[in-house]
Each structure stands twice: as structure tokens, then as C-alpha cells.
């Protein structure tokens, strides 16, 4: 065999090896031809449908992070891999997979357990009225449920199907009708058989790439085994019980304030009823948390180091993709105002808050 023929054969071998992973992706996607409203209705009906699988989340929201604000900054600003087993709202497990171990959340029997392999520790807690987002809230079905909360189904439009976790998934675009939202649109793709949402891409106004994306890479709509969501404390592991889950829970329980019933025209939700307020719904949801001076100072320092931070008479403000954060200073304490809202809406909300919040 001549030298050139050998090189041709080698080139063919290289081409075959390189092309192999691409072939499966090149097969055309075929999804059922259904209108957007019926797809959204199916997603709503599947709100408690069980599922399991591996999820890849990718965010580029550069949020200021402090340890008091849990790992929300890394969840929204980095690539994260999860494994989930969801039997229902009362029994689920979400594992955050790390190269060095795992941090897992298990919910069963009214208790949530956070297992950290590297710390060899389990922390148990009861879900409070309000808390900061965590891994389980960013699974595609959970995030889609928040997006669709209060959304007008008539504004949903069909988008092209795509293959997600090997499934040809029909897609729907949700565009918020409320001009106060800073979200341009959110794209959902669902499993046509079960209605479970397989992928969510959120876009900020003016962006062509998603600010945050969460998608199954493997998926099953079968009910997971009960043992998967049950946590048995391994011998030798440390265990503790947390009365206060995070900074939102702490403020809601102990801060001596009452936020007003309405901020920037958004109506306050019935829960939480403490010092923390949640306003609006879906893609116009607003969260306000009173912060002690110490916590506010830490967040303030973080914000000042972030690119794009704006200082005004109300306070420091940062827009990270569709997510806005504003720290309104009131001397001894401050208010954290956050949500997928336009900067002007956040400023209005902060002014309303400073004028309308009362001491208990």
C-alpha cells in the first residue's frame, strides 16, 4: 500500500471517529403538530408528574455572591450538573454533582435534608414560608411552573421543536405582556408524552443568547423508586437541624418590619406574611428582604466590585441579564429589592418601600 493511500485511510478513520457524535444530532427532529395553548395546558396539567434524569444548567448572570446568600450566585452564573428524582412535591431528591463530591437536597416526610459529602454532614430543616432559590427550583419543570404562574396562555406562541435528552420536544415561547418585566421571552420545550418540561431558556431584553438555560440531558417520566428520595444518615456523619434556612428566612422571622401591600403597582402575595415580601407573579415577581446593616454592607461591597453597578439616591443597583438587584439604604438597615424587572420598576418599588414600610 502506498504512503498516500495509508494517509487517506487514516484520514477516513479520523473523520469517522470525529463525525460519530454528530450523526445522532443531525437526525431531523419530528414533534407533534399542536398549538401553543394546548402545549401550555399540558405543561400545567403535568405540574405534579414524576420524573427523573440528569440536568445541565448554564447561566451567565454575574450576581454578587456572599455566603449568606447561599449558592444562588454560582447556580445562576456557572455551569452546574444535577441529578433529580421527583416523585411529587412531597418526595424528591436533587443532587448537585461536583468533581470533588456532591451536595444533595432530599425532601421527604416534610423535612428537607442537605447532604454534603465533603463536609460529611447532613443538615435538616423544615421548609419555611420564604427562602432563596436553590437547585431544586431551577430544574426545568420547576422553573417552567414559575414562568407560567400567572402568565396569559394566549400570549404563548409555538417555536421549533428540538431534541432534548433524546426526545423530540415541541417548543413554546412565553413573552411577558407586562412592560415592567425585564425578561424578553422564555422558551420551553416539553416531553410530548408526559407534558414535563425538558428545557427552559430565558432571554433578557435585547439579548440573542439565553441568560440562563436549564435542560435535561437524560430523562425518564417513570415514577422513581421510593428509596431514592429517602435519606438514611450514614454512620459517622454529622447531623444538625437548621431553624433558619437562609437570609430570607431569617429576615422574615425576626426583622421588625411590615412591607406595604403594593410596590410599583405589584400586589403582595399572601405568603410570606412576615418582614419579607413577595409581589406579583411569574415573570414580574418581586422579592424584598430587610437586611441588617452588616449583611447590607457585605452585599454593598460586592455590588461595588461588580461591573455595571449604578448608584443613585435610592441605593446601589445592578442589572444582571433579566435579573435586577437593588440595595436601598435606610441607615440602620437596608432593603434588598430583587426580581426580573426593569431598573425603573425596581427604583419605583424601592421608593414605595421606603415610604410605605412600617415598624412592627
Amino acid at each position: 500500500m502506498t504512503r498516500s493511500r495509508r494517509w487517506w485511510l487514516a484520514a477516513v478513520a479520523v473523520a469517522l471517529v470525529t463525525a460519530a457524535p454528530l450523526v445522532a444530532r443531525a437526525v431531523p427532529v419530528q414533534a407533534p403538530d399542536r398549538d401553543a395553548a394546548s402545549l401550555v395546558a399540558q405543561v400545567r396539567a403535568a405540574a405534579h408528574h414524576p420524573y427523573s434524569g440528569q440536568v445541565e444548567m448554564n447561566g451567565n448572570l454575574d450576581l454578587p455572591v456572599t455566603s449568606r446568600f447561599t449558592d444562588i450566585g454560582t447556580l445562576l452564573g456557572e455551569r452546574t450538573t444535577l441529578r433529580a428524582w421527583w416523585r411529587g412535591p412531597d418526595a424528591w431528591r436533587v443532587d448537585k454533582l461536583l468533581v470533588t463530591g456532591e451536595t444533595d437536597l432530599l425532601h421527604s416526610g416534610g423535612l428537607t435534608t442537605e447532604w454534603s459529602y465533603e463536609a460529611n454532614r447532613a443538615v435538616r430543616s423544615v421548609d419555611p414560608d420564604v427562602r432563596l432559590p436553590r437547585t431544586a427550583d431551577l430544574l426545568p419543570p420547576a422553573l417552567a411552573a414559575r414562568v407560567l404562574d400567572g402568565a396569559d396562555d394566549r400570549t404563548a406562541t409555538r417555536i421549533g421543536a428540538r431534541r432534548v435528552a433524546g426526545i423530540s420536544a415541541p417548543g413554546v415561547r412565553i413573552r411577558p405582556a407586562d412592560p415592567r418585566s425585564s425578561v424578553d421571552h422564555v422558551d420551553l420545550w416539553e416531553d410530548p408524552a408526559s407534558g414535563v418540561v425538558l428545557r427552559v431558556d430565558a432571554y433578557a431584553s435585547g439579548d440573542t443568547a439565553p441568560s440562563f438555560s436549564t435542560a435535561f440531558t437524560t430523562f425518564s417520566a417513570a415514577i422513581p423508586d421510593e428509596a431514592r428520595t429517602r435519606f438514611v444518615l450514614p454512620a459517622g456523619a454529622k447531623v444538625s437541624f437548621d431553624d433558619v434556612l437562609d437570609i430570607a428566612d431569617a429576615a422574615n422571622q425576626y426583622a421588625p418590619f411590615d412591607p406595604p401591600d403594593r410596590l410599583a403597582g405589584l400586589v403582595r402575595a399572601a405568603t410570606p406574611s412576615g418582614a419579607v415580601g413577595v409581589y406579583g407573579s411569574g415573570l414580574t415577581r418581586l422579592l424584598v428582604i430587610p437586611l441588617r446593616h452588616r449583611d447590607a454592607q457585605t452585599l454593598d461591597d460586592q455590588l461595588r466590585r461588580s461591573a455595571g453597578v449604578v448608584e443613585s439616591d435610592v441605593g446601589l443597583q445592578l442589572q444582571a441579564g433579566p435579573l435586577g438587584v437593588l440595595v436601598a439604604d435606610r441607615g440602620d438597615f437596608s432593603w434588598l429589592v430583587a426580581g426580573p424587572l426593569t431598573p425603573d420598576t425596581l427604583v419605583t418599588a424601592a421608593r414605595d418601600l421606603q415610604a410605605g414600610a412600617t415598624l412592627r
Binding site: 495509508r6 455551569r79 435519606f231
Partner: protein, 270 residues
């Protein structure tokens, strides 16, 4: 021919010095951990390193996590770079090819020899780590080990999974060996072949965390190396392990084919 190559490998002083150097790092870490009792903060150290403070039987895995990203591939790159270019540099390649043995078989024998070196290194590192781990580190293992997911593994399950992890670590070096062997047929000095292989390794490590290089990730040499940790999750997460094995096979097919294409009809004057 394979027996001849394996004999040369085992008799070479350089083989044992290299293995000793690779083995020195985890041994030093074991001593430091035993003296200070200070583990890495969560998310900062190699996999399993925090766990060995209370369960020393996991130290072979921590040792693998330490040597796999750099020390082991550097050693493999040197061994593979030496395979053909080393013979050429010392002027023995011509005499080697005088024997009634095909060049393709010689390449295969060299690859087997490099992989035997990997096997030997992994076994020595694992055995030393098991010894130092059980003697110096945590003694809380009472026949049950905590999996990464918080479930308990019996001694049998731990042994099987550790065996699979060591096998996976060896297979992860197939790509480095194949690239080194190919470059060894291209250049005249083993150092150039080893450096070329290391350049691929460094490029892969740099590209891996880049979002802009996301489309290349499945092809990057180092992409799945640490997936052996997935064997200690419950249930075992096979996805990346299977992808890792297939990817390494792909590297072997591609670079061995290139080595064969280049070497089979090459004019050998050294």
C-alpha cells in the same frame, strides 16, 4: 515482540524512577494529612481528599485524583514519546526493523508496552496509597464506606468500584499514549514527542472551562478523566464513564491510524 518490549520496560531503571516520582506526591500528601489532620475546604482539593481523614481506605482514589490530571499523563507522554523516537535517537531503530517483524506490529507492541507502564504505575500508586491510607489516615471504616451520595457501600462494593476506577484511570491514558506514539513516529527526539503530547494536554485543560469552546468539549482529551468519581455515586452515573472510554478509543483509532500511515512506509535512517 510484545514480550521483548515488556522485558525492556521492566528492566529499565527509568521506568522505576518515573513510577517512584509519580508515587511520591500522594505519599507526601498522606504524610502531611496525617501530621496536620487538615483536609481541604469543600470544593477546593482533589476528589476524596477530605473523606480520607476519616476513611483511609479511600486514599487510593484520592491518589488517583492527584496524579491523573498531570503527573500520570506527563509520565505516559514521556514513555510514549520514547517509543519510536527514542530508538531512532539511540540509533537502534534500524536494527529493530531488520528483524522479520512488521512495522505495524512494532507500533502495536510499543502501545502495549506504554499501557503496561500505565498499568504498573497505577497499581504501584494504588497499592502505596492503600498502605499509607490505612496506616496513617482515618480509621473510622468499620466495613462500610460512605458513597459520594451519602449511602453506605460494603467492603465488597468498595473493592469492585475501586477496581473499576483504577481500570478507568488506565483507560484514560490511552489517548495520551496514542498521541505520544504518533508524535514519536514524526519527530526524531523523544523530548519533542513528549512536549508535543503535553501541548495537546495543556490545550485541552485550557479549553475545557471556556464557554466559547463548549462545542469542542466532547473531543477534549481531558474532558472525562475525573469521571471515575461517578463510580462512587449512588446509583453509579455511567454516562461520563462510558463517554470517556469511547472517547479514548476514538483517540487510539485516530492517532494509531496516523502513526501507522506515517511509520509503515517511512524511510528509517537512524
Amino acid at each position: 515482540m510484545i514480550a521483548v518490549e515488556l522485558g525492556k520496560l521492566l528492566r529499565s531503571r527509568r521506568t522505576w524512577v518515573t513510577i517512584g516520582l509519580v508515587d511520591a506526591l500522594p505519599t507526601l500528601v498522606a504524610v502531611l494529612l496525617a501530621v496536620t489532620d487538615l483536609g481541604p475546604r469543600p470544593g477546593t482539593g482533589p476528589a476524596f481528599l477530605s473523606a480520607v481523614l476519616h476513611d483511609g481506605t479511600l486514599f487510593p482514589l484520592a491518589a488517583m485524583a492527584m496524579v491523573l490530571p498531570l503527573f500520570l499523563p506527563v509520565a505516559v507522554a514521556m514513555a510514549a514519546g520514547e517509543a519510536i523516537a527514542g530508538e531512532a535517537q539511540t540509533g537502534t531503530l534500524r536494527y529493530l526493523l531488520v528483524r522479520p517483524v512488521g512495522r505495524t506490529r512494532l507500533l502495536a507492541a510499543k502501545l502495549v508496552s506504554v499501557m503496561a507502564f500505565v498499568l504498573l504505575t497505577v497499581l504501584v500508586v494504588a497499592a502505596t496509597a492503600l498502605l499509607t491510607g490505612t496506616l496513617l489516615l482515618g480509621h473510622e471504616n468499620t466495613g462500610r464506606t460512605i458513597s459520594v451520595s451519602g449511602t453506605t457501600l460494603t467492603t465488597g462494593e468498595l473493592a469492585v468500584r475501586t477496581g473499576l476506577a483504577l481500570l478507568y484511570a488506565m483507560l484514560s491514558m490511552l489517548g495520551v499514549a496514542a498521541i505520544g506514539l504518533f508524535l514519536s513516529t514524526v519527530v526524531r527526539t523523544p523530548l519533542a514527542a513528549a512536549l508535543g503530547t503535553l501541548a495537546v494536554l495543556v490545550a485541552s485543560t485550557l479549553l475545557l472551562p471556556l464557554d466559547a469552546a463548549h462545542a469542542l468539549r466532547p473531543y477534549l482529551l481531558t474532558r472525562y478523566w475525573l469521571a471515575f468519581v461517578d463510580l462512587f455515586r449512588d446509583p453509579i452515573l455511567w454516562t461520563n464513564v462510558v463517554h470517556g472510554v469511547l472517547q479514548q478509543c476514538g483517540y487510539v483509532v485516530a492517532f494509531l491510524a496516523a502513526a501507522w500511515a506515517n511509520f509503515a512506509t517511512k524511510d528509517v535512517t537512524d
